[in-house]
Every structure is written in C-alpha cells, then in structure tokens.
Amino acid sequence: MFEFFWPLMASGLVLAGISLLCFSRNIVHSCFYLFLVFIGIGLAYLSLQLDFLAVTQLVVYGGGVVMILLFAIMLTGGNEQTSFSKNILNKLQAPLMGNLKQTALALIVSFIFLGALVYFLFISDYFSMMPFSPQTIRENQESLTFSLGMILGKQHIFIFEFSSLLLLGALIVAAAISRPEKEEKESVKIQEEIL
C-alpha cells in the first residue's frame, strides 16, 4: 500500500468510532464503538512501529477496560433501551441522549476545546525548535520492549514500583467500595431476632 495507508486507516477507524460513539443512544453500543477506537489507536501505534505500545494498548484497553465497562453496565442496571433519564417531573427526556441544553453545552465546550487545541497545535513552531528526525532508521536494532524494559528496570525503577503499588491500591479500593452491605443486613437480622 502506499505509505500513508495505515495512518489513514487508523485515523478512519478512530474517527468512525468516535462519531458513532458520540451519537449512539445505547450504552453498550458505545462500549463497542470504544473498542473500535482502541483498535484504531493501536493501529496508529503500529504504524509508528511502536510494537510494545500497540500490544499494550490492545490488550489492556481493549481486553481489560472495555470488559470492565461492560461489567459496570451490566451491574448497574443494564442497558436501558432508550438510556434516557427522567427529569424531576418524571417525564422522558427528548432524544439526543439527554436534553437539548446539555448537548448544546457539550457541543460548545467541545468546540472550544477543539479550537484551542488546534490553535496551539498550529501555533507552536516546533519544527524550528527541534529537528524533525523520525526514528525510521533503527541504528541499534533494539526492540522497543527491550529499551523500555531497560529504562524501567534501571533508571525509573521507583516509578515502576510505585505504579504497582498504585494498582494494588486501586484494586483494594475498588473491592472496598463495591463490597455489598452484608454486615448491616446481618446486624439488622440479629436486631430483629433479639427484639
């Protein structure tokens, strides 16, 4: 294929994914479109010859995060077909995933952010700051995995350990938060038995 093929493919996937994602009413559909976005980004990494990064992305994001999100959807009420919320007056909201005001607000804010980002993208004269030298030619024939491993193991070992600790902490927190309230029910039962 022409050189620009995979970047375009990746971008196309990502863009398709996000556009479907933003305007779908079904939350499960949104999760799958998210998966598509992840695949697209993984492809983008691959096109940059970042093997480790792409694999990590696909495995962790695609295999882990999306699954967790699906579990979350399942455990919190499932897929309400309309995924509309009911307002205070207990009326179904209009389509567009909520009310019109919210969508309009979101559009405004996202466009502001987009505008700012694109502005800063084009205003920054990075080409003059640093030479543009893509790493197309690998001088030392090292794989990315090896390089990153060496960095993590030798120079940035602390952050590596710390991040493992962080993960541990996150798991414990998650378990603690989501623990069902069994003990109160037991105590209530005991109280009822006493009385």
Partner: protein
C-alpha cells in the same frame, strides 16, 4: 510524509480529546462519562507517542503512554466500584440523579 503523519495523528488526538469532552458533557450515563474519560486519556497518549517518535526524543517518551494505559486500567476498576456503589444508593445510573450537592 512523516510530517503529514505527524500532523494527522496530532489532529486525530485533538479530535479524540474533543470527543471525550463532548461525551463527558453530553451524556447522562455514568459509564458514558467514563468512556469519555478513556478517550481523553487515549488522545494524550497518542500525542505523546507521536511526538516522541517524530523528534527522536528519549525513550522515556514512550513510557508515558504505557503509564497512561496502566493508570486507565486501574481507574476503570475504581470506576466500576463507584458505579456499583452509585447504583446501590440511587437505583439509577444516571448522573442527573446525583443531586445531593444541588442548591
């Protein structure tokens, strides 16, 4: 060519970011918010990786997307826990029902 790729990926990351923001502000479902959050993180990771590749910056530049992914995974677990807890309290998974702070 490479400049174009770089530009393309940067723009892509911007769009991803904007989409994430849109999702956060527009959707009512809790998980939808989290999806938006994932998009944000991915946008920034992509941007990092692209710049590191384009300018042959030190290899630590590739560490950052790794860590973003790691943190996002952990965060997903915590988000699950929060969503379950929120559902247990409010019997609903819509953010609009979290009105305790309203006033």
């Amino acid at each position: 060519m490479m400049e174009k790729t770089l530009l393309l990926y940067q723009l892509l990351s911007c769009f991803l970011f904007a989409a994430g923001i849109f999702l956060i502000f527009a959707r009512n479902h809790l998980i939808a918010l989290f999806i938006g959050l994932e998009l944000l993180l991915n946008a920034s990771a992509l941007s990092f990786a692209t710049y590191t590749y384009a300018f042959s910056l030190p290899k630590e530049g590739y560490l950052f997307p790794i860590f973003i992914i790691v943190i996002a995974a952990a965060e997903a677990a915590v988000a699950l826990a929060i969503a379950i807890r929120f559902y247990q309290n409010k019997e609903s998974s819509h953010v609009a029902d979290a009105t305790v702070l309203q006033g």
